[in-house]
């Protein structure tokens, strides 16, 4: 509660000073996760045949996953635990958390280097990327 008041005060002070306040880390990281989710959705639509195969979409989706996950671990400054689904374990095991993010980034980059060429290839790519989500969320995300 106190923390929220502090944030509010800080935000208001920022506004009063006319400064452009950067989005809070909670919002930034949620946005990054949503971007990854959206990209997974676009890939899945192709894999399931709901959308035609489009190399540009595949490339854009994989690129979005790669860049988002690489920026992700930097969005957890001390004090940003509140008002989010982030587990306190992120801050206790930051190195492990970072490694999990990096391993998804590496898999996305491998796929970018050899772009899946048809819906079946996109399906196989999802099979590589998907398990990262559950693997990390199991430990580091708290559903609220």
């Amino acid at each position: 509660m106190k923390l929220r008041t502090l944030f509010l005060a800080a935000a208001l002070a920022g506004l009063a000073a006319g400064a452009v306040t950067a989005a809070e880390p909670q919002e930034v990281r949620e946005g990054l996760m949503k971007k990854i989710g959206g990209s997974m959705g676009a890939l899945s639509a192709i894999a399931k045949g709901q959308k035609p195969y489009d190399a540009e979409v595949v490339k854009a989706s994989l690129t979005a996953i790669s860049t988002s996950i690489k920026a992700f671990p930097d969005q957890f400054p001390a004090g940003s635990e509140a008002n989010s689904e982030a587990s306190p374990k992120i801050w206790e095991n930051k190195a492990d958390f970072d490694a999990k993010a990096a391993s998804l980034g590496a898999d996305a980059d491998t796929l970018l280097a050899q772009l899946p060429a048809d819906p079946a290839g996109v399906g196989a790519a999802l099979g590589k990327l998907g398990p990262h989500c559950g693997d990390c969320h199991q430990v580091y995300r708290v559903k609220k």
């Binding site: 989710g37 959206g38 997974m40 959705g41 899945s44 689904e85 998907g130 989500c133 559950g134 693997d135 969320h137 199991q138 995300r141 708290v142 559903k143 609220k144």
Partner: protein
């Protein structure tokens, strides 16, 4: 304050149950008659493996954090925090001394479906025998056979850490009298084989209600709120409502639910977190028809 009051109420109620527990003849551990477990012959091991994954045994009994094949070592040791104290999950690997290697099928089956331990003692319902009670004896036999094939572990978990009065096992007879039931939680059309299968998986081995159904002060299900969501038993947050009235998944189609149980992805590509991520890993190992059956059942339960 409210929490303290609740705790007090729980304690007083529980003491009442202990008194009731004095009525030993109504509350003594009740095994199946020995003949119940006779004559099943050689277990079907591959079906036993399916019961094993449907039951989510590894989620509690594997060493915390185990992955891959290490999950098949049921060494126990995971602490389960609850409002009644901390339970330490036991070793159920087939080790002769540390595990269940010497248990007979009857001992194993009575533990699974009646909450009675190998020495005739009551087991705590942190082990979800209230759900497993619905397992057919044939399925118990298959599961028993499969677990016997898994690696042995010498690990010995610490004893449960429960404050008075919850440390009195005899009182569990009262708890069972009040809350134990192997009857259907909700009615489904018995002519619909898919729904019947879904009901079996959800109410039985899947033990979904253990987290998704709210409990009263004594830890019994609030049966009118079946699968309606509850506070997370092992930490922060809320376990979602999964009835058709759910804000989280009420709008999902059966196919959406089945896909989620296979991949962990929601229709808008959010993904499962916390202990549900592990549940998905287990349920993904079942045949697709089982996930479809679970989805059909979840659409058929009363909306809450």
């Amino acid at each position: 304050m409210a929490r303290r009051a609740r705790k007090l109420v729980s304690t007083v109620l529980f003491l009442g149950v202990v008194v009731a527990g004095g009525a030993w003849f109504v509350t003594k551990p009740e095994r199946w008659p020995a003949a119940h477990w006779d004559g099943f012959g050689a277990p079907d091991l591959s079906h036993g493996e399916q019961v094993f994954w449907a039951g989510g045994c590894t989620s509690c009994h594997a060493a915390p954090g185990a992955e891959g094949d290490a999950k098949l070592v049921l060494s126990g040791g995971l602490p389960l925090k609850s409002p009644f104290g901390t339970f330490h999950v036991p070793n159920i690997s087939p080790d002769d001394t540390a595990g269940i290697g010497r248990w007979t099928l009857a001992q194993f089956g009575d533990a699974m479906t009646r909450g009675v331990g190998p020495d005739g003692e009551h087991l705590y319902p942190s082990f979800p025998y209230g759900s497993y009670a619905r397992l057919t004896p044939t399925h118990v036999n298959d599961l028993y056979g499969y677990i016997k094939t898994l690696p042995k572990s010498p690990n010995v978990a610490p004893p449960h850490d429960l404050p008075f009065p919850y440390d009195i096992r005899a009182s569990l007879g009262g708890w069972k009298l009040l809350f134990y039931s192997d009857k259907p939680r909700v009615p489904v059309d018995p002519a619909n084989a898919k729904l019947v299968r879904g009901q079996y998986l959800v109410e039985g081995p899947g033990h979904c209600g253990e987290c998704h159904t709210p409990r009263n002060a004594l830890g019994g299900f609030r049966t009118d709120l079946w699968l309606a969501g509850a506070p997370n038993p092992d930490g922060e947050g809320q376990i979602p409502n999964i009835t058709p009235g759910s804000k989280a998944i009420g709008a999902w189609s059966e196919a959406d639910i089945a896909t989620y149980l296979e991949t962990g992805f929601t229709p808008d590509f959010d993904s499962a977190g916390g202990s549900m991520a592990e549940v998905v890993q287990n349920i993904a190992k079942l045949p697709a028809a089982d996930r479809d059956a679970i989805a059909a059942y979840l659409k058929a339960v009363p909306a809450r």
